[in-house]
């Protein structure tokens, strides 16, 4: 195998990034999806649109605005500096933030669909069985949304692994900090090292296929609510 330590480091970094991003997104995306599924607020449409934005925007746009926004003169940059966190571009934390924005709709939408499909009935039933709001959420809503959680996790992870544009714009290509597989592939192609590029790109292809295969295979197991 012609992969060198730099490639392996990129793979490891990518897995670390995708795992952390997915976990944080599940934590952040679940309340957002829940709110979207149950609110009657006028903010629902704008928030939905905002969450879906990364689906249609080219990653370079997200990357560019993140670079500017998280920079020393940008609003995020000023905030992180005033909080003593320094600046986010060229850091692993910055990549996590960028990836979270980039993959947000891939996590929120399956969860939102799951919460909507579930409806309010199971929660009402739980309320009549003395379960308070948090109790209902953890003992009824989350278990019933399990297929949605699974989809959200898988899609969020896969999409983060496949991220390129945002990382390119804010990463700075630092080994073991921001040089992920997709950037490494780009490097290899640009450096005309096609053999390594093939190994990495082919691996990515196989990985993405397998993860989607797992997702679609599990779909038929999804239980329906009611009959």
């Amino acid at each position: 195998m012609p992969l060198g330590p730099a490639d392996l480091a990129a793979i490891w970094l990518t897995l670390k990034l995708a795992t952390l991003t997915t976990l944080l997104l599940l934590l952040l995306g679940t309340p957002i999806a829940w709110w979207l599924a149950h609110t009657r607020s006028r903010l629902k449409a704008p928030v939905s649109a905002l969450v879906a934005l990364p689906l249609v925007l080219p990653p370079t746009v997200i990357g560019f605005y993140l670079l500017v926004g998280m920079g020393p003169n940008g609003p995020i940059g000023q905030l992180t500096q005033s909080l003593g966190l320094g600046l986010l571009p060229f850091s692993f934390a910055g990549l996590v933030v960028g990836s979270m924005i980039y993959s947000l709709p891939f996590v929120v939408q399956p969860l939102h669909n799951a919460f909507v499909a579930m409806g309010t009935r199971p929660l009402e039933v739980a309320a009549t069985l003395r379960a308070g709001p948090w109790d209902r959420f953890f003992t009824v809503a989350l278990p019933l949304a399990r297929p949605g959680l699974f989809s959200a996790g898988v899609l969020g992870f896969a999409h983060t692994v496949g991220e390129f544009g945002v990382v390119l714009m804010i990463g700075g290509n630092i080994p073991e900090k921001t040089r992920v597989v997709s950037v490494q592939i780009y490097d290899r192609v640009e450096a005309l090292e096609y053999a390594q590029a093939h190994w990495l790109a082919g691996g990515m292809l196989a990985f993405s296929f397998l993860i989607l295969l797992a997702l679609y295979s599990s779909r038929r197991l999804r239980p329906a609510w009611g009959n």
Binding site: R121, A127, T128, R130, G132, T139, L144, N227
Partner: protein, 362 residues
């Protein structure tokens, strides 16, 4: 007055307003009856707190659940109620046992008045405990739903058309369980239905709703016999009487029932039952005929002394509906207008009611 249910609730939706002021008995089954869209389910949901009535006052056997004036609105999970939905709405991710335990576990041990084994036995669920809900029949699901609600040891049981989604066979499978509940539970039950036969079998008290308002509220027999309600216009108008078993004629297979009040006897074809047991019968108005003299040599078994207490022209114009009292028990008779004139009926008149058929409801 702490006993009973006091409900003054108003719910405003575009195109629909629910506005009720009810006092209901603190025990027995109260049927909320009316056409679809009359607000039965909305009323039930307001009582459960699933729908928030903007203005309201609700007290259940002494416990205050809502008092808008005092800004009190107890959330559903703080109300000691059991709710059975139209579709059983079991938790699909839990097996039957864990569905049953869901509410039960959330009740402090000291407050548990219904045990798991008791509920399982009452609704015949022993063999189903380890099954997932997806593998239950409609009737089984509904029985689990009822048992699950009972296991919260509710102080009020709310049933929202629990049989509506079931076919006749499954209905007949569940009805006996509901009757056992009626007999064994010492808590008030509100039962939403638009099926007259369910009401006749189960209810003690009847609330008639139309377009979000209460048309009538009263004991079942009295309310069914009221001529001023749309019930009287129905083809199957009639009353429900409850008698006490006093004897059985083994030779002719006839059961004798004593009607409340005067102790008049009603004889019906039925297998023997323990003396003293209460039995419900439905007597339809079209099965009752009238005679000024005590008829002799008639094939009709039941002959009851009655007094006319009112009348109503019935549908089509050829008939009238006559309201009678048999020692305090109301009865309806449908006769032709011609016969009415021939008999010269007037309120307070004493005559004989012949009952051709009695349907035993239990």
């Amino acid at each position: 007055m702490a006993e009973g249910i006091e409900a003054r609730l108003r719910l405003d939706y575009p195109g629909f307003v629910l506005d009720v002021d009810l006092r209901l008995p603190g025990r027995g089954v109260t049927a909320l009856f009316g056409p679809s869209g009359s607000g039965k389910t909305s009323l039930l949901r307001c009582i459960a707190g699933l729908e928030r009535a903007g203005q309201g006052f609700l007290r259940v056997n002494g416990e205050l659940w809502q008092d808008s004036a005092a800004h009190l609105l107890l959330p559903t999970h703080r109300r000691a109620l059991g709710y059975v939905f139209q579709e059983a709405s079991l938790f699909e991710h839990l097996n039957v046992r864990r569905n049953l335990e869901y509410g039960w576990k959330r009740i402090p041990e000291a407050q548990r008045r219904v045990g798991l084994e008791q509920a399982v036995a009452l609704l015949g669920l022993g063999h189903l405990l380890e099954r997932m809900p997806q593998r239950l029949s409609g009737g089984e699901r509904q029985r689990v739903g009822i048992a699950r609600a009972l296991l919260t040891s509710p102080r009020l049981l709310l049933l929202d058309e629990p049989l509506a989604a079931l076919d006749v066979r499954l209905k007949n499978e569940i009805l006996p369980y509901l009757e056992r509940l009626h007999d064994e539970l010492d808590i008030p039950v509100l039962y939403v239905s638009h099926a007259p036969d369910e009401v006749a079998r189960l209810a003690d008290h009847l609330v008639l709703l139309e377009q979000g308002r209460v048309l009538a509220s009263g004991p079942l027999g009295d309310t069914l016999a009221r001529l001023d309600l749309p019930l009287a216009l129905a083809e199957d108008a009639g009353v429900v009487v409850e008698g006490r078993v006093v004897g059985h004629d083994a030779h002719y297979q006839l059961l004798s029932l004593a009607l409340p009040g005067g102790g008049e006897l009603l004889r019906v074809a039925h297998a023997p039952l323990a003396t003293g047991r209460q039995l419900r019968c439905k007597i339809q108005a079209r099965d009752v005929s009238l005679s000024l003299q005590r008829p002799e040599g008639s094939s009709i078994l039941n002959l009851l002394p009655a007094q006319v207490s009112g009348e109503l022209p019935a549908a089509g114009g050829a008939h009238v509906l006559v309201r009678l009292e048999v020692a305090g028990t109301p009865l309806l008779a449908r006769i032709t207008r011609y016969s009415r004139d021939q008999l010269g009926l007037f309120p307070g008149q004493r005559l004989w009611a012949q009952v051709k058929a009695v349907a035993v409801l239990a």
